[in-house]
Structures are given as C-alpha cells and as structure tokens.
C-alpha cells in the first residue's frame, strides 16, 4: 500500500515535469487588457446613459448592467464570446458579460432537449453556484454591515 502511494507520487512528479505550464504572462496580459476594455465600454455606457437619459447614478448603473448583459448574451448567440474568452480567460469571465455568457451558453446547448428540461433547467448549471454563493455572501456582508453600523 505504502509503495503504491509512493509510486503514484513519483508518477505525478513525472507528469508535472512533462506537462507544459500555461503562459502566465501572456494570459494575464490578455485578461488585463480585454477585461479593462470591457469595463471601459461599461463605463462609457454608464456615463452616456447618465447624461443623455438624465438618470441618477444608481439608475444609470442598473441600465448599464442591463445593456452589458444584453451585449454578452448577443455575442454568445452570435458565437463570438467564446472566441474572446479563449484569449482573454478571466478577462471576459469576470465582467457581467461573462455571467451572461455562462447562462446563455448552456441554454443554447440544451435547446434540443426541450424548453423545460433543456433550456430552463440547464440555464443555471454554471451560473447557479455563482448566484447561490453570491447572494448568500451579499446577505452575510449586509448583516455584518447592519450590526456594525
């Protein structure tokens, strides 16, 4: 038994040596610039709707989120978002457009299994955990904030 674990360890060491490492610098640079660019577009939309539609800061934020989600969903539907994600990695996953992508992509994928058990049931397979833990932690942070205030 002990020998077996040792063999496994030695093997995993060999695999580590032979397997290539990801290009960290290249990947980070792409993520930084694409993520930054998406955020810049968001900021531009925010400023524009705030000024043009005469909205308050918070209302403009909500409108921007809606627009960005729409854009993310549209680019996913057109088959462009996965190509951006291939290069940008976290740069296009972290912004809210990535969240839209994580909902629209399984919805598209499982359309053939019907609108109930396909599209609707599978829509949140990737986004579900983000929603559950995102909302839970926001409630917790809100409670702490309330108690400390």
């Amino acid at each position: 038994m002990k020998r077996q674990t040792e063999n496994k360890k030695r093997y995993q060491q060999l695999v580590k040596e032979i397997s290539p490492k990801p290009h960290y610098i290249k990947n980070c640079t792409w993520a930084f610039f694409v993520g930054g660019f998406i955020s810049m577009i968001g900021q531009f939309i925010h400023n524009s709707v705030e000024r043009m539609l005469n909205l308050s800061h918070l209302e403009a934020t909500n409108a921007t989120i809606l627009i960005m989600i729409f854009v993310g969903a549209l680019l996913t539907g057109l088959g462009i978002y996965d190509r951006i994600g291939k290069r940008a990695g976290a740069g296009s996953i972290v912004p809210i457009t990535g969240f839209a992508n994580s909902i629209v992509s399984p919805a598209m994928e499982f359309k053939r299994e019907g609108y109930i058990f396909g599209v609707a049931a599978r829509m949140f397979t990737l986004a579900g955990p983000v929603l559950v833990y995102g909302i839970t932690s926001s409630v917790l942070v809100g409670l702490i904030y309330y108690l400390l205030k």
Partner: protein, 337 residues
C-alpha cells in the same frame, strides 16, 4: 485448456481473422488535418443533416458500417455480429445505429479504447468459430462529447495546453474468416490502472500508465521486440501522454521511441488547428486506423503494427465525487500478408 493463450494477458490466434475492409467518416476539422485525404468521407457540416449532434454521430456510425460492408461486396444481413461503442451515456450513438441496421449487436464500453477492444473481440468470435463475418465500429463527436463531459460549446473559457480535442468521426472494420486483407494475429487485453491523476484536461497523463503496462505485457507475453514492429501506435495519449508512455516503457527496459506514434498526434496539426495536445475520443483511433493505417497496411508500407487504443474510464460524476481517472489500453497486432 486455453491453447490460444500466451503469457499472462495475450491471445495468439490460430486462424488469424482478416480485416477485409474498413470505412471512415470524419468531421470537417479532421478532414482539414494531415490525414484528410485518407478518409472515405469528410462531412462539410458536423450535424450531418440531423437535428442533434448525437443523431449526427449515430448516423456516422451507421454510414461507416454500410460503407465498409459495401466495400467488401457484402450486404448488411451477411454480417453476423456488430461489436461497437461510443462515449455517450448508454452508448446511444451505436445503439441507435444498431436499431436501424438490425445486425445482432454487442455494445461495448471501453471509452476511447473501444476500437481495439471491438477488434479484439471480433477476432475472438471469428477464430473461435462463432462467426464468419463481424463488424467492429466505434465513433465519437466533438460536440456530443463536450456537452457530456465538459462545458457548453459557446462558453468563453480557456482550454489548458494539455487538453485534447475529441475527434468527430466513425470507423468500421469488417473482420472475416476468409478473403483478402491484413490479419489480426495477437491481442493483449489491458488492466484498469489508476495512478491518481484527477485532471480531466490531462487525460494523456491519466492513460499513459495503462498504455505502458499493456505494451510491456504484450512484449513479454509474445517475445516480440519493439523492432519487430514498423509502428507502435497508441490511441489518444496526445503529445505529453505519449512522452510519458515512452518514458514508462523505457523504465521497464524497452525502447519504443523510434517506431512510436499516437493517433491523436497524427490526426491534427496541433499548431495550425489549435487542438493543443492532440486528438482524442473513440473515433480517434477508429478513423486513424480505418482511414490511414489500414491503407498503409494494404499498400504494404507497414508490414506489422501494434495498435494500442487507450481509454479513460471516468465520468463527470466520479470526478465530482473526488475519484481519480482509471484507464485502460488494449493492444492488437495487425500484419499485412
């Protein structure tokens, strides 16, 4: 007394079954790869005029079997057994093809090792005198495999450098007790091995120990030497898995470096086609064998090859439960005569 057994894991056929014809159908990406010209049919659309990828995969299997049967100048009722499988849950690609073809069917699951497994069992049926003509067929489809094992296609994520690209393709081989063609002479059945790799995007590393173990057993059982083979070709270890397998075999005192290759490396041009570590899937060793290797054997460019199809026997469920990836490899010796 099992007179056809040699060593611990190997069978030596007394009346080696002949591979009288093969057929291969591949998707557009495989058609653009370095082996494109060797395939019988390259699809222009990977949906193959169907409404789902699963149906497309099933249709590929069915067409490959029909095509191989036609090439051997046989009719479907002449085939006595269909042995085959694919990667999908409950083998739906192969079973729906079998529903239409009405050939007595034995479904096999060996993940990507299924091509060698079905060839081996087909050979056993024929040499055992249980059948005159058998078809062995396997398939995989990039899009149907992705959705079952990984992520939706349109999800914007990055594939690691060790990840492989599931081959869209189906291959079928007609085995017969008489006729013309290369023969299967030996079969080495693999054991399930697990060295604790749990990374589904590094399946080459998960499968390399199984491949190495089967290759080493094959040589010790048969008494062959690596030089006896023109080519020792694994199923889908990819670039890095292949390197690891060569290293593991070398540790056991055999050098296969000179005549080693991998179907997953041969089928794509990794740099141009962005497939990272190479091709994978049941269809990988199936179409490389049925398309490329079979033609080279018929042309006598290769006289004797060892096809070692490799399979990672995991499911997304087992990985989520914290299990590592067990693997298997089966080897078949194919000689031209």
């Amino acid at each position: 007394m099992a007179i056809k057994r040699i060593g611990t894991q190997t069978i030596k056929f007394v009346n080696p079954p002949l591979l009288i014809s093969t057929a291969s159908i591949v998707g557009p990406k495989e058609g653009e790869g370095p082996l494109g010209e060797y395939f019988d049919k390259v699809l222009s659309d990977d949906l193959f005029q169907e409404v789902s990828w699963e149906k497309a995969e099933s249709k590929m299997t069915k067409e490959a079997i029909s095509l191989a049967t036609n090439k051997a100048q046989l009719k479907i009722p002449d085939i006595q057994y269909l042995l085959g499988g694919d990667l999908l849950n409950q083998l739906i690609a192969t079973t729906y093809a079998a529903r239409d073809l009405q050939i007595p069917f034995l479904g096999l699951y060996g993940a990507c090792s299924t091509m060698a497994e079905s060839l081996a069992l087909g050979g056993i049926l024929i040499d055992g005198g249980f059948a005159d003509r058998v078809v062995a067929a396997t398939s995989s489809h990039f899009s149907s495999a992705e959705r079952q094992f990984r992520f939706p296609l349109e999800l914007g994520n990055q594939r690691p450098l060790t990840a492989q690209w599931t081959v869209t393709g189906a291959g079928a081989v007609i085995l017969s007790e008489k006729g013309k063609g290369p023969t299967i002479t030996h079969v080495t059945t693999g054991k399930v091995l697990d060295y604790g790799i749990a990374d589904a995007s590094n399946m080459g590393a998960a499968m390399a120990p199984a491949a190495a173990s089967t290759i080493v057993s094959h040589f010790s059982d048969t008494g062959f030497k690596p030089e006896d083979y023109d080519l020792i070709i694994t199923g889908d270890l990819g670039i890095y898995g292949g390197e690891i397998a060569i290293e593991l075999v070398r540790n056991r005192g055999l050098d296969i470096m000179k005549n080693y290759s991998d179907c997953g490396i041969e089928i794509f041009n990794g740099k141009k086609q962005d497939t990272h570590a190479g091709g994978s899937g049941c269809g990988c060793s199936a179409v490389v064998f049925c398309g490329y290797l079979y033609k080279k054997l018929v042309e006598k460019k290769y006289r004797k090859i060892l096809l070692v199809s490799t399979g990672a026997l995991f499911s997304p469920l087992s990985l989520q439960q914290g299990e590592s990836i067990p693997s298997i490899a089966h080897a078949v010796t194919i000689e031209c005569n």
